[in-house]
Amino acid sequence: MVEQGNPYIVRLSSEKASFWKTVKPTLSDLDIELTERCNNNCVHCCINLPADDPVAKKREIPTEGIKHILKEAASLGCLTVRFTGGEPLLRDDFEELYLCARKLGLKVLLFTNATRITPSLAELLSRIPPLEKIEITVYGMKRTSYETITRAPGSFEAAWLGINLLLEKKVPFVVKSALLPPNREEVEEFEAWASTIPWMDDPPSYSIFFDLHSRRDENKNRAIRNIRPAPQEGLRFLARRKATYLKEMKKFCSRFMGPTGDKLFSCGAGIGGASVDSYGQLQLCMDLRHPDTVYDLEKGSLKEAISHFFPGVRETKATHPDYLLRCARCFLKGLCEQCPGKSWMEHGTLDTPVEYLCEIAHAQARQLRLLEEKEMAWEVEDWRERIRKFSEGKGDER
């Protein structure tokens, strides 16, 4: 958008359009998981070591190490860094890291539970804005529901205190949630409150189909599996605003579905973006921690990883017989979240089909009438026609 009255200065909004006229920078976005520790202990969470875990704390990238990564990211053209965790505000050096990022000209996207937002941090975020809306996960509208999920006494009050501090200081944020039995009856109340937040352009998003533990902790995985909703149950929630849901699904299906063969990386992971884990390992995305796909930043650079290491990883082909028989031929790819990251979290491999994701995708395809009851998507030959009919037709769900 060109400023009226002055043809030389152009106002940009990086969310709305890419403003690189010719060459895109080597790195556009970087995620940094500042810690795996969290002061909440949510049963569904894939990454929450105890807040005072001494081993994790000792292993975390030191302040200067993160500053070094931020400087290199900025030199490669990065515009946005996401600080996430665990709970990133558990880091004692958070304000120092935040200021470092902002003074390098980076926008900061902060993922937090808001329990550790202090008056001084709210003041800092007001004076030196992150330039991205903070994303806050809210676990419930009442102490009982909230703390049944977080299993952290006092977390409800702490979160609301933090949220109110941000509201007072007019620091832009949005809220999201995880849909779980203790808060299921509070969805309307949550959404009514969310709609009063000045920066909420859309209804809040929800985690519904939970990932397993990011470090493949079997005890945590058992607990997560136990609270995962049945596919139909989660899909009913997703489709509760029927007209909007159908409109979005038609648009999505017309663009992003179709079999991808034995090519494992059909997403954009590692292209212009990357994730740093709490200990300095660079990953293509937040989920994918398979040792063959991570790059030790202590032994090399962001540039080397993004320019040379990641492209090699992205060439990896699937070899698992079940993947080749099913996923490689499945037109629900896109609708299905099967990917090397999810395969790693579920099975410790890159290419093992994740049954839960397969069930969800098939249930959703049946809900959208892309599949008949007994059909398996990899056996369908006229999938292009089905997607075309669904995307162009009036369409309805079951």
Binding site: V10, L12, S13, S14, V23, S126, I128, K133
Partner: protein
């Protein structure tokens, strides 16, 4: 330039201007990107700015060491245009940048 415009702009060819410490100017793949550091630079919190080639040619010369009239002289040579033709645009851009606190006068 008319006296009215100079008064309105409070920008003078005899003054020196320099990028404000309230912004971070970055060059990414040949594009100048101005990132606000403190609140209140743009109309919206997430706004970044860039400039077209002419704007960038002006920005690159605003180093706090040259008076605006010297910048004008250099631009006149570079763009092979009379100073009178460039002056209004130069004052207009500097005025806009000062108004947005992207540029400050060297006192």
């Amino acid at each position: 330039m008319s006296a009215e415009l100079q008064m309105e702009a409070k920008v003078s060819l005899d003054k020196l201007y320099v990028p404000s410490e309230d912004v971070v100017a970055r060059e990414i793949e040949g594009e100048l990107i101005i990132v606000p550091l403190v609140a209140g630079i743009g109309d919206m919190e997430d706004e970044l700015y860039t400039m077209n080639e002419t704007g960038k040619a002006i920005w690159d010369r605003l180093d706090g060491k040259k008076k605006l009239k010297d910048v004008l002289g250099e631009l006149s040579v570079e763009f092979e245009a009379p100073e009178e033709e460039i002056e209004q645009d130069l004052i207009g851009l500097v005025n806009e940048l000062v108004r947005r606190r992207i540029l400050v006068e060297v006192v």
